[in-house]
Assembly symmetry: D5
Homo-oligomer: 96 residues x 10
C-alpha cells in the first residue's frame, strides 16, 4: 500500500554542528535500511529546498506512522502524508 | 531528469458524457504510450480525489512542457511541476 | 485501518431539483449500506455547512478510493482524506 | 453534544526532556480519565504528524473550553474546534 | 449557549431579480422572527461586503444547524460557525 | 459606531510566570473598566483557543486604536479589526 | 475619519458590452461626484489589475457602507475595508 | 510615480527597550524628513495593528528601494510594494 | 525601469475556438512588437501551465499599465506585477 | 535550460554583524562568479524586500540544486524553483 510523503526539514539555527551531523548520519542510515527493505520505495530531493518527496510501501497506516515517528529528524520536520492507490491508466502492476 | 507533477482534473459539469469519455480515452492511451516509452515513470491516484501524482523522466524542461501541453485533458487540469534530483540518501542509482 | 475524511458538497445551482433529489436519495442509501457494513464508521454534519466529517474503516487505500469514487455525489464534492492510526493515549482498542 | 477537535502539538525545542516527559505523562493520564468518563469519545493520531483528531461529547461550549484549557499541553498546542450534529444519513443514534 | 457566525452571501448573477427579492424578503422575515425569539441575538453588516457577523443563542449544536439550514439564502451562503463561551474578563453575566 | 475585533494572544514561552500574571491582571482590570464604560460592548472567549471576539462601540477609528494600543497584552497579540454597521434586518436599534 | 479600501472588479464574461459600458459610465460619474464632495479622497489604479486602492473620508462606518453599497459595480466587486487613523509620525494634520 | 506600501513591524521581544526606542526615534525623524521632501506622500496607521499603509512618490523603482532599505526599522519589517498609476475616474491631476 | 510580471491565462471553456484563436493571434503579434521595441524584455513559459513570467522595461508605472491593459488576453488573465531594481551583486549593468 | 528562482533571505536577528558580513561577502563573490560563467543569467532585487528573482541556465536539475545548496546564505533562505521553457511568442532564440 503506497503513500506519498513530503518532508520539510528545519533544523534550529542554534543546534551545534556536531549534534546536527550525528542526527543526519543516523537519519541516512535509517533511511537506507528502510529503502533496502522495500518499505521506503523512493526518495527524491526537491531542487533548491531542504525537502524531499518520498513513496512508502507499507502494510498499514500504523506501520507508516511508526516508521516516520522514528526518523531521527522527526522533531525537526514538517511531514505531509497522502494515501495513494493504483491509477486506472497505470501500466505498472506494482504501482499500487 | 526527473520531475514531480501533480494534476487536478476539473471537467466542466455541462460537458456531454460522450465528449468527456472520448477525451478520457485519448488521455489514457496517450498516458500509457508515454509510460511505456519511459518518459512517464509513475502515475498514482490520490485517494478520494480526481487527481494524480506523477513522476516524469525527460531530457529537458521543454520536453516536459510539450508532453504536458499535449495531454487531451490539459485544458481541464491544474498542473504543478516540481523539479527533482537525486537525494543523497537514496540507494537507487536511477532515481535521479 | 481508519481514515478521516471531510466532504464538502457543492451541487450546481442549475441542477433541476428532481435530479438533485434522486442523487441525494441514492447517496443516502449507499452511505447507510456502508455504515451498516462497518466500512463507514461515523458520519457527522458540520454545523452550518453542507459538509461532513466521516471515519472510514477499510482494508486498504484502494478500497477507500473505490468507496469514495462510487459516491453518487462524488462529482460534486471536494474530498480530503487523512490517514489515522491508534493514538498512544487512546483507551479504546478498536480506534485503530 | 459532539465537537470535532484537531490538536497540533509544538513543544519548544529547548524544553528539557524531563520537563516535557512530565507534561506528557500528565496529559496522557488526564486524557484517559476524560475518555473513560465518556467526555472524550475518540482520539486518533494523524499519521506522520504530532497531532490528533478527537471527538468530544459535552454538555456545553463552556464545558468543552474548560476541558481543553486544562490540558497540560494546552500552552503548546494549536487547537481548532468544529461543532457537529447528527447527519441525516447516519444510522447511529448516538452520533449526535 | 453562544455561537459566532459569519455569513457571506453570493447570489448567482443570473438569478431573476424578482426571485432574488422574494428570497431576501423571506430571509428578512425569518431572521427577524428569530431575533425576536432571542435565538439570533445580534446581526451586524460587515462594511463594504454582502456579509454579516451574527451571534446565536441556542440550546445545542443541532438547534443551530436546523436554524441555519432553514435560512432561505442558505444555498447561496458560505457560513462559518465558531463556538463561544464566557470570557473570564467579561462583566456581563448573560454573555455566555 | 461598532467594530468587530478578534484578538489572538501569544505570550512568549520564556516570559516568567509572575511577569505574565501581572500583565494579565492589568489587562483584565483595563478590559473591565472599558466594558463598564460601554466602549467594550462584548467580549467572548473562542472555545479551545487563547483568543476572543469582541465588539467595541467608539466615536472614531482613532479612539479604537488608542484603546487597543493601550492594552497591556497589545505587544503579544495579533488583532484584526472589521468595521460594522446596522444590518437592514436587525430588530435592535442600538446594534449600529 | 479615513478608511483604506481595495476594490477588485470582476464583470461576468457574458455581460453584453453595452450593459457593461452603461454600468461603468454610471460608476465613473458616481465616483467623481464623491471625489468632488471630499468623501472619496483618493483613487489609484493597481498596475496590471482591474482593481483600485482608495481612501475614503466619512463620518461613520454606516456612511461608508451606504456609499460602497450604492456603487453601480458593487455586485461585481470584491471589497476589503481597513480602518485607518493618524500615524504618530505623520506630518500632515489632515491625514486622520 | 506612486507606490502603495504596507509595512508590518515586528520588533523582537528580547530587544532592550532603549535600543528599540532609539531605532524608533531615528525611524520617525527619517520618515518625517521624507514626508517633508514630498517623497513619502502619506502614512496612515492601520487601526489595531503595528502597521501602516503609505504612499510614496519617487522617480524610479531604485529610488524607492533605496528609501525603504534605509529605514531604521527595515530589518524588523515585512514590506509589500504595489505600483500605482492614475485611475481613469480620478479627478485629481496629481494622483499619478 | 524593470518589472517582473506573472500572467495566468484562463480562457472561458465556452469561448468558440475561432474567437479564441483570433485573440491569441493578436496577442502574439502585440507581444512580439513590444519585445522588438525593447519594452517587453523577456517572456518565458512556465512548464506545465498556461502562464508566463515576463520582464518589462518601461519608463513609468503608467506605461506598464497601459501596455498590460491593452493585451488582447487582458480580460482573461490574472496579472501580478512586482517592481524590480538592480541587485547589488549583479554583474550586468543593464539589469536595472 | 532555464529556471526561475525566488530567494527570500532571513538572517537570524542574533547573528553577529561580522559573521553576517562575512557570509554576505562570500555570497556576493560566489554569485558573481556564477553570473560570469553564464549559469546565473539574471539577478534582480525585489523592491522593498530582502529577496531576489533570478534566472539560472543549467544543464540539469541536479546542477541547479548543487549550485543553490552551495550558496553561503542557503541555510538562511527560502528558495522556490520554477522550470521555464521557451514561450511560443518569444522573439529571442536564447530565452529557452
Amino acid at each position: 500500500m503506497l503513500f506519498h510523503v513530503r518532508m520539510d526539514v528545519n533544523i534550529p539555527a542554534d543546534m551545534p554542528a556536531d549534534v546536527a551531523n550525528e542526527i543526519k548520519a543516523r537519519e541516512k542510515a535509517y533511511s537506507q535500511e528502510l529503502q533496502r527493505s522495500g518499505k521506503w520505495r523512493h526518495i527524491w530531493r526537491v531542487v533548491g529546498e531542504y525537502a524531499n518527496y518520498s513513496i512508502f510501501d507499507v502494510e498499514s497506516n500504523a506501520e507508516l506512522h511508526d516508521i516516520l515517528a522514528a526518523l531521527p529528524l522527526f522533531p525537526y520536520m514538517k511531514i505531509t502524508v497522502t494515501p495513494l492507490c493504483r491509477h486506472p491508466s497505470s501500466v505498472r502492476d506494482n504501482d499500487a
